[in-house]
């Protein structure tokens, strides 16, 4: 699946998107996998209450299932307008 990062999540992880092969059942399972990868992921995902997640470009929740999802995006709360 495609995993995308925006704003300071992108900066902490150091890349805007990557392709990840995962068996994670939920967003939270994916976060746990990512945290275990490297320090920069652990730092980016340290406090998920400061993060938002979108599944296939729709805002979602961290307990949402990933079955059938092609694109996951992590980012801080939006600050447009």
């Amino acid at each position: 699946m495609d995993v995308m990062y925006f704003a300071w999540v992108r900066e902490r992880i150091g890349l805007p998107r990557e392709r990840i092969d995962t068996q994670a059942a939920t967003v939270m399972d994916l976060v746990t996998e990512l945290r275990a990868r490297e320090e920069r992921y652990a730092v980016a995902f340290e406090d998920i209450s400061a993060l938002r997640v979108a599944l296939d470009q729709e805002l979602s929740e961290f307990d949402a299932p990933l079955a059938g999802v092609r694109e996951v995006a992590f980012f801080p709360p939006m600050t447009g307008g």
């Binding site: 925006f6 729709e58 801080p76």
Partner: protein, 146 residues
């Protein structure tokens, strides 16, 4: 409905005038425009990041919901991304309705949802460095009124 996400500058006044014409029965037009301000002093420029694809979908969904809730003749949303300087127009929304109450409520709803639910992120760059703008608690709280 006209939703535009663009890097290029736009002329809010010209957009307002273009938007104001041609809605036969809608005599009430409300606009909101957001302008880059140097609130604390020392702002060099602002960078706005967005999520191409999701941004347009989110704005379209917000505008469709506003059109479902209020009696509107038209909705306009323009939001820039990229690098903006002090005084630049960041974005605007406009609503046209027969009754002003609908135009006001829909414009404020659009702004409240755009602010916290459309995937834009602002970074302020000063001589001291760059800082991502944090969400204000009151922006999230504003959604509670709808």
């Amino acid at each position: 409905m006209d939703i535009r996400v663009q890097e290029a500058a736009f002329d809010a006044g010209a957009e307002l005038n273009a938007f104001s014409t041609g809605h036969d029965a809608a005599g009430a037009i409300v606009s909101f425009s957001g302008i880059v301000r140097d609130r604390e002093g020392g702002l060099s420029h602002m960078e706005i990041e967005h999520y191409p694809g999701m941004t347009e979908k989110a704005l379209t969904a917000i505008a469709a919901e506003a059109s479902a809730r209020w009696s509107l003749a038209d909705v306009l949303v323009i939001h820039r991304h990229g690098s903006l300087r002090v005084g630049d127009q960041i974005m605007m929304v406009a609503t046209a309705a027969r009754h002003r109450g609908d135009a006001f409520a829909a414009a404020e709803y659009l702004m409240d949802y755009l602010k916290s639910r459309a995937p834009f992120w602002k970074k302020e760059v000063t001589a001291d460095g760059a800082e991502w703008v944090a969400q204000r608690d009151e922006d999230e709280a504003a959604l509670g009124k709808w």
